[in-house]
Structures are given as C-alpha cells and as structure tokens.
C-alpha cells in the first residue's frame, strides 16, 4: 500500500504529521505493509491534509483527513467517506496549466530518481550543450518576467550579469516571501526543491556564476529543512559541485529583506538596509560582484523553459505577461490555495469562480492583490485580466500573485491604517518618506477615524510623497493599499466624520 501525506506547511498546520503517524500505527496494528511518502501539497488547502492512496486507477484523494479517518483508509480507498476522486481528475487540478508546479504534490520532494522520472534535469542537460549567450537568449525569448513582483524581464537581467566583467559572480535566490497571501515559493521549495536547484544551476551556467545562495525567511522552517536536504543530495549526485555550488541562508524576521538590495546586505551580514540604485546588483551585488537576484518562482520556471523551449512557454499568457502564474488565493475564501494558469483570467473568474467566493458565505467586499503593498480592489475591478500592465492600469499591481479576499465585514479604514502601521514596523529606516511617513500616516488615519475631515487631503499628500520619494517598494507602494481603500471605499472613512459633524 502506497500512501501520500503532504509535508507541506499548510498540511502540517492542519494536522498532517499526526495523520502520517496514525497511518503507520494502524498499518502496524493490522500487519499491513505501507509506504508513506511525504509529498508536497497539490495546492487545495481547503482539503488539507489531503491524503492520496495509490490505486490501480490512479491516485485517489481523501480529505480533509483527521486521525479518526485513518482506519477507513485500509478498506477500499474509493469508498472512504472522505474520498474525493482521482486527484488528477478534480476540477481544481484539471483547470490548471502546471508548468512550474508540474511536480509539486506529485513527487517525493527528496527523491532525485522521482525528479528525473518526471522530467527533471532535462533543462539543465540541454543548457550544458548551449553557450552562455544561447541560454540567455532562450530565457529572454520566453518572455519570463520577475515573479517576485517587479516584473523585470529575467533574460535582460541575466544578460547584464553574463556580460559584466567580474572574477566571481553570484546567483541569489530571493526566498524571503514575506507578502501576506503568498506561499508559492514555500510550496515549491517544500514540494519540489530540485526544480529550484536546477534553475539556479542553469542561471549559473548562463551568467558564469559559481556560487548560489537561497535566502529563505525564518518563518519557513519546513522549506529550510527540505532545501538544505536537497542541496546535500544534489551535491552528492554531482548536480552541484565546484562548477556551481549552493548554500541555504536563513533570514531573521525582517520583511524589508525581501527587497533585493536589503537582502544582499543581510546576506553579507549587515543590517538589512536598502541600497540606493545604481549601482544595479547585476553589476555590483553580493560582495560588490555581479549578481543575479531572482525570485524562487522565476528561477523554478527556468527548467521547463529550457526543457520545452522558449516558444512553448511564451505561447501561454496575455499581452506582455507571458507564460503561467501561480495564483495564491487566500484570506476569506471558500476554496483557497495555489492555482497555476496562464496569465489573463479576470479577477472575477479567480475570486468568484475558482475560489468560490468567501468562506463565510458573505459578499466579497475587497480583494487585495499583490500582498501588503498591493491595492484593495472593489468588485467593479473584477473584469480586470490578471497581468502586469492590466493591474497597473487599475492603480494596483500583481506583485507575487497573492490575492487576499475580504467579506463585507472588513473595515477598510482599519486596513489602510494597518498598511501604514506595517510599513512603520518594517521600515529599514534609511529614507525619510518611509521611516517618518509611515508613522505620520498612521496618526493621520487615526485623525480621520476621529472625524477630522481635514486629514484626508493630508493623507493623500503624504501618500504622494511616499510614492515618489521612497527608496524602495516598501515606502513607495504602501500608498497603494491606503489610497485604494480611501478611493474605493469612501464610506468607511466617512461615518466617523459625519458623526463628529
């Protein structure tokens, strides 16, 4: 009997470890031989812990599992009271185009044989036969843009590093996934770590870099453990070695270290203070050397691009947003999780369709797209297609593709205040608009809450200053959630004022 129980953090947070232990105990009691594989998550978080039993027809999904549901697993899996059907046939899975996440939830994350059997290393093998310029050209032609949020073309960044003079170059993977509503990096690292390692090895070849770092936030203990184990395995298999080796580094709870220059300072052992650009990290990055800083998903999309070709990847998408995007649907949703698809679905199709509306069953009031620095969108934006330019056109951003859904009980003034408070807590302190602006912003929103209407134009003015005067996206983008809340939900900023009048 072969059973899959996810090791993914979300599954573990919902009891997967206890379920795995109970399966082994029950098997021993019955004298049944059982192989429990701790896989990644399929991304259907509302069904976690989602256990899969290998049957002749395929992998039967059963969930959400509790310890009490374990004994019934040992009968016919298909007749288990919580049987969902074959996982690959579930609507959530069938609707997706899984390129970057093709193996996540499918394979044993730390089995290199499993990785190879599911198409792993084909991209690296192809890259080894190519010149640096050819690899860079392939990535450029794929249309891949930075999935961390900035959307900068990955190929252009690689070209700069590849052609930069330097006795030593680095590939730095930004796995400091601090945005609320985002967990794609975590799921990828936990469920298919070799894909990230392969992507970094290809980046090393393309740029002439010999050393890679993955900077993982300390809030991700499972991802850290899986990645560290995977690096050891990849090294002993010769995938990593003197030509290109890697190290896993752990952050220390500073949100701003997700900003690339702050991350580089942190990696060097300094305070995570933002650096002014120029110089670009591509020319003077880690230790002053040419450095690629890419998000996990950008790097993990490289193997499939190399394996199947730039045209294959580029063929998916919408406008200037090419390829696929792992949507992370979160907050108050009936069906939350990770859903990888080509760019171009509308916000309404995602929230009302895929996510099935709110968990509470109340109407959707707002959707924050792109994490804590993204705008709050009202229902009237629901026809916006998911793409970099489309959301920029609506006064927002897609960021790292996280969506937080709120029902009609949300108080948008409180959400705006939280955005300022968060910026004040996490500001690195280097530039004044962010360091002082966020504190004054919190105070100004408190004035509005007390009924001081004069504070509204002041808040607008402050947001303009922060937007144009901040050194990085923390101070620069905090105005997005604040101003979108104020613009789209003026009623939430009004009652106190009217009461005071």
């Amino acid at each position: 009997m072969k059973v899959y129980v996810p090791l993914d953090s979300a599954a573990v947070a919902l009891g997967a470890d206890a379920v795995a232990t109970a399966i082994l105990t029950e098997a021993a009691r019955r004298g049944v031989e059982v192989e429990v594989i701790r896989n990644g998550s399929r991304g259907m978080v509302w069904l976690e812990p989602l256990v899969e039993v290998l049957t002749e027809a395929g992998r039967m999904g059963i969930g959400p599992m509790t310890v009490a549901d374990v004994p019934a697993l040992f009968g016919s899996a298909a007749r288990h009271p919580k049987a969902l059907g074959l996982v690959d046939e579930l609507p959530w899975m069938r609707g997706q185009t899984r390129l970057t996440f093709a193996r996540v939830g499918v394979v044993d994350p730390l089995s290199l044989d499993d990785y190879r059997a599911h198409g792993g290393l084909a991209g690296l093998d192809r890259a080894k036969a190519m010149s640096k310029a050819e690899i860079v050209a392939e990535v450029t032609a794929s249309g891949l843009r930075g999935r961390g949020g900035a959307g900068f073309p990955t190929g252009i960044k690689w070209k700069t590093v590849s052609e930069a003079p330097g006795d030593r170059k680095y590939i730095v993977c930004n796995a400091d996934e601090g945005d609320s509503a985002t967990f794609a990096d975590r799921m990828l690292m936990e469920g298919d770590p070799f894909t990230l390692i392969e992507g970094m090895a290809i980046a090393g070849l393309a740029c002439g870099a010999t050393k890679g770092f993955v900077y993982i936030r300390s809030e991700y203990p499972v991802a850290i453990r899986v990645m560290e184990a995977a690096v050891v395995i990849a090294r002993s298999a010769g995938i990593l070695g003197p030509q290109f080796d890697m190290e896993i580094r752990v952050g220390a709870g500073a949100y701003v270290c997700g900003e690339e220059t702050s991350l580089l300072n942190s990696l060097e052992g300094k305070r995570g203070i933002v650096r002014a650009k120029p110089p670009l990290p591509a020319l003077e990055g880690f230790m002053g050397k040419p450095t690629v800083v890419n998000n996990v998903i950008s790097l993990a999309s490289i193997p499939v691009i190399l394996a199947k070709g730039a045209a294959f990847y580029q063929n998916f998408g919408h406008g200037k947003s090419r390829g696929t995007i792992p949507l992370q649907i979160a907050g108050n949703v009936a069906r939350g999780g990770l859903y990888e698809c080509a760019f171009g679905l509308t916000l309404g199709e995602i929230v009302d369709g895929i996510a099935g509306g709110t968990a509470t069953g109340r109407p959707v009031k707002a959707v924050q797209v792109g994490g804590p620095l993204g705008a709050y969108h009202p229902r009237k934006d629901f026809n916006t297609p998911f793409g970099y330019e489309d959301f920029a056109g609506q006064g927002g951003l897609i960021g790292h593709a996280g969506l937080t859904v709120f029902d009609d009980s949300a108080d948008m003034l409180a959400q705006a205040r939280f955005a300022m408070e968060f910026c004040a807590i996490e500001s690195c302190g280097k530039c004044t608009p962010c360091r002082i602006g966020a504190v004054r912003g919190t105070e100004t929103i408190d004035r509005i809450a007390r009924g001081d209407a004069d504070a509204i134009p002041l808040l607008t003015d402050l947001c303009n200053t922060m937007k144009s005067g901040s050194l990085c996206a923390l101070g620069g983008f905090t105005p997005y959630p604040v101003m979108s809340a104020l613009t789209h939900f003026p009623d939430d900023f009004a009652p106190a004022r009217e009461a005071a009048e």
């Binding site: 996934e177 601090g178 809030e219 752990v250 709870g253 500073a254 060097e268 937080t404 959400q415 968060f422």
Partner: protein, 152 residues
C-alpha cells in the same frame, strides 16, 4: 549573565564553524540564539573581534532583526500572524482573546515565565488562517484555544 568560560568556549566553537562563510554574521547569530535562547550582550565583543567588526556594528545587526532577542523568552513562544490574509479570517479577534486569556500584550512574557506572545507577519499559511506558531510548530485555523498549547 553569560560570561563564564563555558559560554566563551561555546561561542568560539560557533565562530569556528561559521567563520569561513561569505557574510557569516547572521548564521553566527542564529547559532548563538539556538545555543543560548537569546543573543546576550556579553557575547558581542567576542563575535566582533573574530569578524574584525566594531561592537557597535554587531549590536546594530542584532537589533535590526526581529528574530534576535536580547533576553531569554518564556518557556513557550506563541506567535500569532497579524497579516492581512489572517485578518480576513478574524486574526485580530483571536489575538485580542489570546491577549486577554494570557493577560499580556505583544512582546510580553507572562509573569510566571510560561509564555512569550509575539506577532508574526505571515507564516505562508494564508489559505488556512488565522495562523499561529507554538515553539516552532505550525497551527492553521487557530482560535483562542491555542492558549491550551502553552498551558503548562
């Protein structure tokens, strides 16, 4: 205070294990905190000297990051996520109830030294919030009953 020869020896071991790294300070501080439960002021000069930094520079790094504590935490550390996705599922309400049940605010430790309450901004459990972490263990869809996890 941690100023005995034992501690100095342990720090020396940690320095020895990490000093060859490129940018070794964060890994060193993580190791110190893992060994002692916090990063005592008294060890900073030894670290600074080994890395050829000023004590002020090391102090600046320690105090920049939320993770590093200057004093030991309670026997349990309860972290509750305060970020937006968890807010959408009632995290503020849960946090208020937990604070009331424990009689402490953020960053405080109960007088009996049993539990330290800390905010965290995202555990990546955004589709099963509100999220919590108890002594490194992850909990999804948590409510005020999470205090039972730190009862003893």
């Amino acid at each position: 205070m941690l100023d005995s020869a034992d501690h100095s020896d342990r720090i020396a071991e940690i320095l020895e294990a990490h000093q060859h790294l490129e940018g070794p300070l964060l890994p060193i501080l993580h190791a110190v905190q893992a060994a002692f439960g916090h990063v005592p002021q008294s060890v900073l000069p030894q670290i600074a000297k080994a890395l050829n930094l000023s004590k002020a520079e090391v102090h600046g790094v320690v105090t920049f990051y939320h993770d590093f504590r200057e004093a030991p935490a309670g026997r349990h550390v309860l972290k509750l996520c305060r970020a937006e996705a968890c807010q959408a599922m009632g995290a503020d309400r849960v946090a208020g109830a937990v604070k009331a049940a424990l009689g402490i605010d953020w960053h405080e430790t109960t007088p009996d030294g049993r539990v330290t309450l800390e905010p965290v901004f995202c555990l990546g459990l955004c589709a099963c919030g509100p999220a919590a972490m108890v002594d490194g263990r992850l909990i999804g869809r948590c409510d005020v009953s999470v205090v039972e996890e730190v009862a003893v």
